[in-house]
Symmetry: C2
Subunit: 351 residues, 2 copies
Amino acid sequence: MKRFSIAVIPGDGIGREVVPAALNVLDTAASAHGGIAFDYTEFPWSCEYYLEHGEMMPEDGLEQLKKFDAILLGAVGNPQLVPDHVSLWGLLINIRRGFQQSINIRPAKYFEGLRSPLADPKQFDFIVVRENSEGEYSEVGGRIHQGSSQIAIQNSIFTRPGVENALRYGFELAKGRKGHVTSATKSNGIVHTMPFWDEVFADVKADYPEIEAESTHIDALAAFFVTKPEAFDVVVASNLFGDILTDIGGAVMGSIGIAPAANINLSGEFPSMFEPVHGSAPDIVGKHIANPIGQIWTAKMMLDHLGETELGAGILSAVEEVTKNGVKTPDIGGSATTEEVTAAICEQLKK
Amino acid sequence: MKRFSIAVIPGDGIGREVVPAALNVLDTAASAHGGIAFDYTEFPWSCEYYLEHGEMMPEDGLEQLKKFDAILLGAVGNPQLVPDHVSLWGLLINIRRGFQQSINIRPAKYFEGLRSPLADPKQFDFIVVRENSEGEYSEVGGRIHQGSSQIAIQNSIFTRPGVENALRYGFELAKGRKGHVTSATKSNGIVHTMPFWDEVFADVKADYPEIEAESTHIDALAAFFVTKPEAFDVVVASNLFGDILTDIGGAVMGSIGIAPAANINLSGEFPSMFEPVHGSAPDIVGKHIANPIGQIWTAKMMLDHLGETELGAGILSAVEEVTKNGVKTPDIGGSATTEEVTAAICEQLKK
Ligand SMILES: CC(C)[C@H](C(=O)O)[C@@H](O)C(=O)O
Ligand SMILES: CC(C)[C@H](C(=O)O)[C@@H](O)C(=O)O
């Protein structure tokens, strides 16, 4: 029996509803397959935890997580309880950075049976590789003066290794896909960091003559995700641009509720973390309408990372089958509950 | 006879194709209406001008433009000839900043007869107010080290007046519209400037108890522009966020080619500048397929600014009528040329 130890952090809001769904699906898939099992250890780190302890996770939190094969996270944040930048930087971004999860990958694909907001959705299938450790998300900056003279400054910091790792990861990924890379830039407006990004792109591109690669400004690219998502294969973007693009990716798929994500530690020194694109959605908590597919597809990405690609593929097929059969939460045009969708996927896996 | 003096800068690429179209429409509308005339002075500032003169505009360029009632600009940029950050900062952004055009406004609305990429486009009608003078677009920053140690730093700088002006403009605008303001933020990821933005938003909001106002993260907001554009009225955003959102606005309308924009000088000390959202699109130059509507609608915004709202309204109705009748360029599903669309709009105006 192959056993994987998984750290589970449901977090806030609907994270606590969709994580149990994903664990259910993982266990069902594993026992249908045989020879694989998961040991889960749950951590209660969340905004409620903060209210009790004054911190989003204990000081030795990373130490506690370090020994796991992977981390499965739901969603973090509840601005009613804790300001977002406190909750996110104290937990989510703390783990991304502490474990050097420098790459975030988020696929988006056309799903039969999903109600896309697009009039004529083609068979798109792309993946966004997001630089996940630096860039626009930085603690460097601050304020000066008070009142009407106040000024706030934010430093975006791009390093050569940070940018190069993301781009190289994208080119490598493209080799096993359609062989096309798009680099998201804004070198016409952002005059220091984005021309730098473009230079690194040109250097990396030179190492991959077999890959077709081009650079597109983020504003145009955001529009193209709506008007021609089928034109893309691998899109590499900075931390902020990747954040925005992947929400649009979720939207054109039909719902942000189905979009999955992985935060990858490239060196293998630390565990990688798997968390869906959607947030904690406090407004729909307790209504049993949270779409579990984002979390379940995220669990599939975790399996791929752990080398269990067959198990992962089985889960994605089951999700597609159930969706096609119309067992769907309201956000994608159905009337099923979180629990009903999960049960249907488990049923499908047992077949 | 009321005469307006207009500085005309066609710029690069299709700017030179759509600006003549807009002038044609302006003149036709004015003579059909009577009592109004335009005096145009054209400036050849562009990337080709740069190749000849080593600068995008002469050193006393702003001095030359200062006396005009308004500036009508086509599009700037041709990366084959001049790097984008050089051409844009040397002309477009130079004018925006030199003339303290601190607000950029860009409407988006559902147009009958347009082929929206959305499956079920509702009657959306929103306007993005973009901070246009500071923020992520800044010349502050630079690089250190070489090769694999190189680091690039970009400073985003937000001042209290900059942020407050944009937000206050948005709230004022909402008064005469549906009374709803959305503030684009990212205070969960961008920890210095965006919480500052949120604080100014809270302060300004307190002055407008009659306006319904809420704050939404840019990633979610970008997705909502696709999934529920009809939910918005006035959206206020930083320079970069406004840039991205307005391209998505163009996309959901049916084509970036129809999206108009105005760069407003609030004090009245300097002329305001009117330029469509689309770029110079070097790839379609000379094909007679450039959509003139973005530039024509932009000219309508210029008329509004000059106080000729009746003339402006007439132009927009003519555009809508012609579009509904199917005289459209290929980007919005027709087969007419730039010239044919322009002629049809002029015909309509003469009726
Ligand atoms: C060309 C570029 C610098 C410009 C911007 O980002 O402001 C353009 O995209 C726009 O939106 O007007
Ligand atoms: C919650 C927030 C800090 C986070 C981000 O911007 O990275 C989220 O939007 C995401 O995309 O994972």
